[in-house]
């Protein structure tokens, strides 16, 4: 099995896959416990506007997507804090606007024949060494945020009202959680693409949630489960010549079904 990782692009894909899996495990946990899944979808789609923006101006794609994702997350955080009950409508609006801007900007870019598929379904096999440094830096930033902010992140996520009366700046931490998540979402899209990013962020967390009794263990477990799925998906897609992102997601779904099955059998046997 290891001989498939002898080529440069497969080695890069493996390293990138591992880093991004760890990121998506951590970020996915934050998103799920904060019930931000719809928000995360909104951010992912809005970042498509950033892709169009970057192509139009000739900037690096990741930079454009990140800028749009961060702006979207700050905007959504503001709206979520201010209009708790109406936030769904706003997310939908930002989501659609971002995508529409992306499409139009790409239309306006003369002679650009964009390979849309790689944005929609990911392009882990096209990861370059420079990308890996970026991914690694992002992982470090996320880890620093989690380690030093853990108490406040936990308090704000579990019981924001109580966090407020304990003197924690809830708005600030809520916004930070979303901004950090948005960067994680954009980098995860590199592996599985816009369409599948939510699955990658939530399936490992779904399993991890069942086996962990604290947020930190949920993050670690999701990261490891996600890594397992990604490597498996990478290997399978290599042998069968499938699209890697889609294969990773199908492997994850199969893993989830397997887990549920084992859990069911275990609970029957225990009776």
């Amino acid at each position: 099995m290891f001989e498939i990782f002898t080529t440069d692009f497969m080695q890069n894909a493996l390293i990138a896959g591992i880093i991004v899996s760890l990121i998506s495990g951590i970020i996915g946990s934050l998103i799920v416990v904060n019930r931000m899944v719809f928000l995360a979808g909104g951010i992912a789609h809005t970042s498509y506007g950033g892709i169009g923006f970057a192509i139009f101006l000739g900037l690096p794609i990741f930079l454009g997507a990140s800028i749009f994702a961060i702006i979207a997350s700050i905007l959504m955080s503001f709206l979520a804090l201010k209009y708790k009950d109406r936030v769904d409508t706003f997310i939908g609006l930002i989501w659609a606007t971002g995508m529409a801007i992306g499409v139009i900007l790409i239309d306006l870019t003369p002679g650009y024949n964009v390979d849309l598929m790689s944005y929609l379904f990911g392009s882990i096999l096209a990861v370059e060494t420079g990308d890996i440094y970026t991914m690694f830096s992002i992982l470090i930033v996320i880890l620093v945020f989690i380690v030093f902010g853990y108490r406040n992140i936990l308090a704000v996520s579990y019981d924001s009202q109580y966090a407020h009366i304990r003197g924690i700046n809830v708005g600030l931490f809520y916004t930070l959680i979303l901004v950090i998540s948005s960067i994680g979402i954009v980098i995860t899209m590199k592996v599985v693409g816009l369409i599948l990013v939510i699955a990658m962020l939530t399936i490992p967390v779904f399993i991890a949630e069942k086996i962990s009794n604290s947020l930190i263990w949920m993050m670690i477990a999701s990261g490891l489960i996600s890594t397992l799925f990604t490597i498996t998906g990478l290997v399978v897609s290599y042998y069968y010549n499938f699209t890697t992102g889609a294969t990773i997601i199908l492997v994850s779904v199969a893993g989830m079904i397997l887990f549920l099955g084992v859990q069911k059998i275990y609970s029957i046997v225990k009776k």
């Binding site: 416990v33 406040n152 936990l154 308090a155 109580y162 009366i165 003197g167 962990s212 009794n213 604290s214």
Partner: protein
Amino acid sequence: MSKKILEIDNLTFDYDGTNVLENINLSLDEKDFLAIIGPNGGGKSTLLNLILGILETKNGKITINNQDPSKQLSNIGYVPQNTNINTSFPIKVIEVVLMGHISDKKPLFGYSDAEKACALGALTQVGMEQFANAKIGSLSGGQRQRVMIARALCNHPTLLLLDEPTASIDVDGQRKIYELLKDLNKLMTIIVVSHDISVTLNYANKVAYINKFLTLHNNISRFSTTPQNGHFCEVELMQMFRNKNV
């Protein structure tokens, strides 16, 4: 002269147009034990939320230790009415209690040993220490309420607010919690919202009836000493307050 802890002046509050609280005046001294009673929707939780600064005061004034409530948060302990929030959250009982510590005295990361010891102590006080490492969602409603009480004790408050803290706690547990509150009352001022007048009256030295307006009874000892037929009649007492108000 004992020290003023809480002072509410001419407080009126509305959510969207219709007043929920009107013309509230209340003053509590150090080591007072105030029981708040009143019908559902009377405005009891709203008043607590105003004292905590969760809701913003629009008309009137609230001061705690002569300061704005937002400056006194570290001196307030709070047990919310709804303790069933986020029960699927992956968090251990001990971590919930640790949340009670004040945020600006924290170590660089994690929790200090002193904080952990304090949280365990608080759990012991409410009889929940053996559940310290259980997931919060795996507890029963009453057990969760006890955990929330432990959390409120964590920062050694001088003012402790409890919103129906024993609503789903069994009879024996209720008695224990009120005994605990009685002990704590030697150290701090307590405000407890409760529909359980028969229990409350044995511990409180002031009773406020809230139904948009607040009616305060300062000396309740004559009611509390000899409950009739084993428990005090809530209806009679409510009637009495209502008459006083009208």
